[in-house]
């Protein structure tokens, strides 16, 4: 019988420094035993998250930043902000970390077949959207979807994640990538300004298309009304909520919002679903 609180032992395979100041690193973890790996990838869907677990430091939820086809590893992008994340940042290749997951519902990509996609991300929350984009850009998946526009904002060019991969996206014909940073820098010839303004500039067409917004609450708060003005219906706008979590499986009551648990029934909700829930965020 599966114990929903028991972490799966995993090993750090690779550590990638994502930003110059080292505040963001990606950790690629591989499974210690194959049975866990099979079960994980059978249930995995982009947009889900895992509870990383280090004994003595507790647990914390992190979005999964890798698509299933990329390999037998799971990537997490972690920002060094507290005692738990600092412990991870000081970990070395070969160290062991426990994870519980995949948790949450993830993006309902099966509903989006044949539709255009607008992927809007900001800061380190872009990691789950990166997983979504990588999943969709795979040749087997790509033909199921129409036009894909990615808008990714960050505070500065140094803080942009997944630089090599995103640079290769500019050459791809079947995809439109817009990067933005808050303050203009020399040598930066893409958008400048906040993501909501960039969305207004790019002005993707709402016809037969779905928008996904993930970022700091302030960005989501200002981007949603712009999408609604552009003509996106509430059913076609999705966002991933962030709330304090503890068990990640809908038992401990902490992330309760209205009749839903953000960890079990979310974290991805459509704007239509969100409008039903009380504003207790």
């Amino acid at each position: 019988m599966k114990n929903i609180y028991k972490p799966i032992p995993m090993r750090i395979e690779r550590i990638i420094r994502e930003t110059d100041d080292g505040s963001l690193r990606s950790f690629e973890l591989t499974f210690n035993n194959p049975a866990d790996e099979k079960a994980f990838f059978k249930a995995y869907n982009p947009g889900q998250f895992c509870q990383l677990s280090i004994f003595g430091k507790g647990e914390a939820p992190f979005g999964i930043a890798s698509a299933a086809w990329e390999g037998n590893f799971v990537r997490f992008t972690v920002q060094n902000v507290g005692s738990f994340t600092d412990t991870i940042h000081r970990a070395k290749v070969g160290d062991e970390i426990g994870i519980r997951g995949p948790l949450g519902n993830g993006f309902p990509i099966w509903d989006w077949n044949g539709k255009d996609l607008v992927v809007i991300g900001g800061g380190c929350a872009f990691s789950t959207l990166y997983a979504l984009t990588k999943h969709i850009m795979h040749p087997k998946q790509r033909k199921d979807y129409g036009r894909i526009v990615v808008i990714y904002g960050a505070r500065s060019s140094g803080l942009c994640l997944y630089k090599p991969d995103i640079k290769s996206w500019y050459e791809r014909p079947d995809m439109e990538i817009h990067q933005a940073i808050d303050v203009p820098e020399e040598g930066w010839d893409f958008h400048t300004g906040y993501v909501p303004d960039v969305v207004k500039v790019v002005a993707p067409s709402p016809k037969n298309s779905v928008a996904v917004v993930c970022g700091p609450p302030i960005m989501t708060k200002f981007t949603l009304p712009i999408l609604v003005d552009l003509g996106f219906t509430p059913e076609s706008i999705y966002t991933s909520l962030e709330k304090r979590m503890k068990c990640g499986v809908g038992k401990c009551g902490r992330c309760n919002l209205g009749t839903q648990y953000i960890c079990k029934d979310g974290p991805v909700f459509s704007l239509a679903e969100l409008n039903e829930l009380p504003l207790d965020l």
């Binding site: 599966k2 929903i4 304090r244 038992k251 009749t259 207790d280």
Partner: protein, 335 residues
């Protein structure tokens, strides 16, 4: 299911019989009041009138502090489950119903909480109905009354010279099969007591609209007014038989990962590392407690999350009465 009967003086003999193959846990009175204890002698079981322990019996299935894992050099091992089966004797029907409600959280097949499930399946609940309702209780308005059947395997009604047992599940039937059957006189007397136990003046308010009314009042300033005198302590939630929030903590010195009860009435419960707190003041926290019990639970399970046991009403240090609060917000009379 055939009802059974035990003579008053034969109760201790029956309990001693049960104790041979079960651990019997029952309310025991000591100088600090009544607490559930594992009894070693049938005489320790004492239950008069409509008494019940202040500390809720949910702690038998969801202990206040429970070791989830013992950590030995990196490997997480789950502690052994208690071997012997248990009888929870003398649980009131409001607490039994609470355990039934908590099953909807912890005992769902696809996401089973093993710790709760393995205790529940090993426990038989022999609940005692209340002939007269307790002063702060309102189980007939929100729950299924002083003789509610949910969550218990055998329901006992105290007659003048005997106890009338109604088995409600197969396990209850098996437990009571060796007892002698009740005659029609017993069942008639029991039905009489059960009917008269409900307090007449408690109007049967139509609570079906309670969640809509609460949603309507969600953004009004009324929450601030009713929660102004709340101290923000954990009495109402820790003593509530249906409150189940918990916190998971790593106790490094004990090398254990532990689960403790937690309460949404504390500020730090929803305090986020970024400094943001979705429920910064007592108003939001009181709103969450009441909405969860009377709106969210009703939406999800079609049953109120409150069983009307009255513990929070009786023991709140500032006498914040949940009946009065709900009545002020929704206008529905709850006595």
């Amino acid at each position: 299911m055939t009802s059974k009967v035990i003579k008053k003086d034969a109760l201790n003999k029956t309990i001693t019989g049960w104790m041979r193959s079960y651990d019997v846990i029952a309310p025991v009175s000591s100088k600090e009041g009544i607490h559930f204890r594992k009894i070693s002698d049938a005489k320790e079981f004492t239950l008069q009138g409509n008494q019940k322990p202040n500390y809720p019996p949910k702690s038998i299935f969801l202990p206040q502090s429970e070791v989830l894992f013992e950590i030995k050099d990196g490997s997480y091992s789950m502690p052994e489950a208690p071997k012997r089966r248990q009888i929870i004797l003398g649980m009131r029907s409001c607490d039994a119903r609470a355990a039934w409600l908590l099953d909807t959280v912890f005992n769902q097949a696809e996401e089973l909480d093993l710790y709760w499930a393995r205790k529940r399946e090993k426990a038989l609940v022999v609940s005692f109905g209340c002939a007269s309702m307790c002063s702060s209780g309102f189980c007939d308005t929100v729950g299924s009354g002083p003789f509610g059947k949910e969550g218990s395997d055998v329901m006992v009604t105290e007659l003048d010279e005997a106890y009338y047992l109604e088995p409600l599940t197969e396990a209850g039937e098996k437990l009571t099969e060796k007892l002698d059957n009740a005659e029609s006189g017993h069942s008639k007397a029991a039905k009489e007591i059960q009917k008269s136990s409900v307090v007449k003046e408690h109007t049967q308010a139509d609570l079906s609209k309670i969640n809509e009314k609460l949603y309507e009042a969600f953004d009004t300033p009324i929450w601030k007014e009713i929660s102004e005198s709340c101290l923000g302590c954990g009495v109402c939630t820790y003593l509530c038989p249906t409150c189940f929030c918990f916190d998971i903590v790593d106790e490094v010195d004990r090398s254990e990962r532990v689960r403790n009860w937690d309460t949404c009435m504390f500020r730090i419960y929803s305090q986020e590392a970024s400094g943001h707190n979705p429920r910064p003041s007592k108003a939001e926290r009181t709103r969450q407690r009441i909405m969860h019990k009377f709106a969210y639970w009703v939406d999800n399970e079609k049953a109120s999350g409150c069983t009307g046991c009255g513990r929070c009403v009786a023991l709140c240090p500032v006498n914040l009465d949940i009946r009065e609060m709900v009545q002020v917000i929704t206008g529905l009379p709850i006595q």
